[in-house]
């Protein structure tokens, strides 16, 4: 619509400068990309079937044959770790996307309508009174173990935080002078919403969504760890650690490798979030001359 004006959002040299100025984003993205690739090409990366049992070779230490050793049922820990990335990545991304979208929509409704606000925020307060993990466990107790149900349970547990943030942002932006100025310039409700409120709300929500992704991965691991998560037939970093816990002193690799992967992924996401927060602030994104 505005092409004639040659008013691009960002010019290319500026964007390159931004990358150099935010190395945390680069490092976070690289690690995260590696984990995502690992999840996607798991069948090729894995040396063995992650569910194949070979009781004769259980609890082997890392070796050329079993890179990360084997667990108490003789399954290959490397292959299971690689496949476990799938659960974590899918959980993290879907929970972040779903919780942020639902939270934004509900937050907008609450921010613009007093009645909706009163009802919705009391429900959210109620949900927030229950620790996210307990809520997810309770929800999982009601359904059968599956990745989809785990995601839904974590989304329900995470949504109130997003709603609160989105509502606060909307309330602030709604009364911002530039919104008033847009109204005075003849911009209608939807113009104000899509041109002025949403673009300014997206940055903090994107940052928040990275933390949600990280926390969702941890919640999934905890759920799997206590046996309320993905079915034990699907390898996940959580249930691998849970199973390895009993033989931790003999075979530390069972807990070590999935634990390292989980920590690295969560760290990468948090670094990405921190960097994005700085990068998406137009006041901080100064031009490098």
């Amino acid at each position: 619509m505005t092409t004639a004006l040659a008013l691009e959002e960002d010019t290319p040299p500026r964007r390159r400068a931004a990358w150099r100025r935010h190395p945390t984003v680069a490092i976070g993205l690289i690690i995260l990309a590696a984990v995502c690739v690992m999840a996607i090409v798991a069948p090729w990366l894995a040396t063995l079937d992650p569910t194949a049992l070979s009781p004769a070779k259980r609890l082997r230490p890392p070796s050329p044959e079993f890179w990360f050793g084997t667990d108490m049922m003789g399954r290959d820990v490397w292959s299971r770790t690689v496949y476990g990335a799938r659960v974590s990545v899918i959980t993290g991304l879907s929970v972040a996307a779903l919780a942020t979208t639902i939270g934004l929509v509900l937050g907008l409704l609450a921010g613009f309508d007093r009645t909706v606000d009163a009802v919705l925020m009391r429900i959210m307060d109620g949900l927030m009174a229950i620790p996210a993990i307990l809520l997810a466990i309770a929800l999982m107790a009601l359904t059968r173990a599956s990745l989809g149900n785990v995601i839904i349970a974590i989304v329900i547990a995470e949504v109130p935080r997003v709603v609160r943030l989105a509502r606060g942002i909307v309330l602030t932006l709604r009364d911002a002078t530039f919104v008033e100025a847009a109204t005075a310039s003849g911009t209608g409700f939807f113009g104000v919403l899509f041109r002025h409120i949403l673009p300014n709300a997206v940055a903090p929500l994107v940052v928040q969504s990275t933390y949600i992704a990280a926390s969702a991965m941890i919640t999934e691991a905890i759920l799997s760890f206590i046996g309320a998560g993905v079915p034990s037939s699907t390898p996940s970093w959580g249930n691998m650690m849970a199973e390895g816990r009993t033989v931790f002193q003999v075979a530390p690799q069972l807990v070590l490798f999935p634990g390292l992967c989980l920590s690295a992924t969560v760290l990468a996401i948090n670094m990405l979030g921190d960097g994005l927060r700085d990068m998406l602030d137009p006041r901080l994104a100064r031009r490098v001359k």
């Binding site: 911002a176 310039s185 137009p282």
Partner: protein, 333 residues
């Protein structure tokens, strides 16, 4: 009386009996509501090509009145007429095309510009909304607007944080000029700027008015600025207009004790050097009373050195001879 002017063909905007109250306390059952009367029964009109200065202390309702005139907030009661047509009941949607005639410049130039949008997009917004320009013409118009406020054309891709305060306010003014409005409400447009920049912006506003005949409603608490730019001045106190008249008449022969006090409070180093005495007039003591519980009768009586029993009992009307009107029992001879 002021009301007669509503029929005047030269009148751009006229308000009468305008009120705005904000609910401040509400019990659980919606009863026992207290309200704050920010604007209380105001009559005002702005003629073509004229600058009406609106002065008053903080909390006197100046900014609320300014926003009511543009229907950026809805009035509780009263009439607003744009070229004689009542607009107070129009829905936000019906109001939109009329906003072309009524623009506003805000006090904080940074807050009034969307931090994510390049300046070109901000200036294009009113042009597109009012279907004034499209395509290549739009870019030309944006450049012309920038030129009118003294900014180079190559700033269109920059964002608000890359400009100085004075430049931002120029952008704010350019946005207000975009639809060629008849009335521009200026809400303390220079109070956030350095003194040297203030002068530049004020001169720009005067030049623009000479060129295009805009009417200004100039809200300010700075009497020197108001004296410099206004043709007429209205003095507000606690949501009411206590005195209104031509600028020379207000500044040379103020009639309301509050106006006298305001003028006396302005430091006058030049006068002192000439060995002149301090301007006569009462000194203001205390604070402006709460608009939640305004005093009975005359709003100013709690701080007025001349207040009588009548001021407690009876609210003075805004009356006067000719153009100069005052709301004071003691000064309406």
């Amino acid at each position: 009386m002021q009301r007669d002017e509503t029929s005047d063909r030269e009148t751009v905007l006229a308000v009468s009996g305008l009120r705005k109250s904000f609910p401040v306390a509400r019990s659980w059952f919606g009863r026992h509501r207290k309200s704050l009367r920010a604007v209380d029964d105001v009559d005002l009109s702005i003629r073509r090509g004229e600058t009406l200065g609106l002065v008053g202390e903080s909390g006197s309702g100046k900014s609320t009145l300014a926003r009511l005139c543009l229907k950026l907030i809805e009035p509780t009661a009263g009439q607003i007429r744009l070229f004689g047509e009542p607009i107070e009941r129009l829905s936000p949607r019906a109001m939109r095309p009329l906003r072309r005639n009524l623009q506003m410049v805000f006090q904080d130039p940074f807050a009034s510009l969307n931090p994510r949008l390049p300046i070109g997009r901000i200036l294009a917004e009113p042009l597109r909304n009012f279907r004034i320009a499209q395509g290549a013409d739009l870019a030309r118009r944006v450049e012309a607007l920038l030129a009118r406020v003294g900014l180079p054309a190559d700033v269109v891709n920059r964002r608000a944080h890359e400009f100085s305060g004075g430049q931002r306010q120029r952008i704010g003014i350019a946005r207000a000029l975009a639809p060629e409005p008849k009335l521009i409400v200026l809400d303390e447009p220079v109070s956030a700027l350095d003194v040297s920049v203030q002068a530049q912006v004020l001169n720009l506003l005067s030049t623009l008015q000479d060129q295009a005949g805009y009417s200004y409603l100039f809200v300010s608490h700075d009497l020197a600025v108001v004296r410099h730019i206004s043709h007429r001045v209205a003095v507000m106190y606690l949501g009411r207009i206590v005195e209104i008249g031509p600028v020379e008449s207000i500044f040379s022969t103020p009639r309301h004790p509050y106006t006298e006090a305001l003028l006396a409070a302005v430091p006058d180093p030049a006068g002192r050097q000439r060995g002149g005495t301090r301007r006569r007039g009462p000194r203001l003591r205390g604070e402006i009373p709460s608009p939640i519980n305004p005093p009975s009768g005359c709003a100013f009586r709690t701080r007025c050195p001349l207040a009588t029993q009548r001021c407690v009992e009876e609210r003075p009307a805004l009356l006067g001879s000719g153009d100069h009107a005052v709301a004071c029992h003691l000064r309406q001879a």
